[in-house]
Point group: C2
Chain length 136, copies 2
């Protein structure tokens, strides 16, 4: 019903506001529909543009292009151009992306737990809420 702080107490409004601000800062750079997914898609190694697009079914080239630029500006992704022939362009995560590990880890674990829950509750009355489209 409420989160507890390190003292096991309900957080004060002041604490909550600063937490809200911190979360907002985070969401500002890694929020949105694709950011974290792109980072995850690159987590098992560098990929080329079209590989990323295939890994994240549903994203258009234009959106992927824009998101990659943003991620590069913010230091999560690096774009490497190998000028050998044929020219190969690859994207890979920077070390800074590793700092997101706890966030991604907890998000993934929560997602697995949530999916379990949704599957088991027989989908009572309200429409369930797993990423149906993604699974297609």
């Amino acid at each position: 019903m409420s989160f507890t702080n390190h003292d096991g107490l309900r957080p004060t409004p002041g604490e909550c506001n600063s937490k809200l601000a911190a979360a907002s800062d985070a969401l500002y750079v890694i929020g949105g529909k694709w950011r974290l997914k792109i980072i995850l898609a690159l987590a098992d190694g560098h990929k080329r543009f079209n590989e990323i697009q295939r890994a994240l079914s549903g994203i258009s080239a234009r959106v992927l292009s824009n998101e990659l630029k943003e991620l590069e500006i913010n230091g999560f992704v690096i774009r490497k151009v190998y000028t050998d022939f044929p020219v190969v362009i690859e994207y890979e995560l920077t070390p800074y992306s590793d700092t997101l590990s706890p966030v991604l880890q907890s998000l993934i674990e929560w997602g697995e737990m949530h999916r379990e829950k949704i599957m088991h509750e027989g989908n009572g009355q309200k429409q369930s809420a797993i990423a149906l489209e993604e699974t297609l």
Copy 2:
């Protein structure tokens, strides 16, 4: 540069795909611009509609209304109507919201860390990336 799994190894593509799916499931319900912020706004106790709106500067009544409905459907928030006079309507988090604690915690910590980094790097050339609007 890459995340490691519990064995300290780079995750395999298969592992990554299932992680991507899990993260997608999570983002499907708690993604979006406001969901997590609303939950955080309620973390220090029940609030009324307008209190939430004030806590999250920038959200319109219509959007807040829609988001609260979604959060209610998905079991994160409960809407309580006190029919005394005057009628009072309050929103509060359900116990299920507590399962998000690790996600929120890591997100908040990352946000704090990231803000520090942005502040200190003198904002070299690329535009910085903290939630400026939120701070206004």
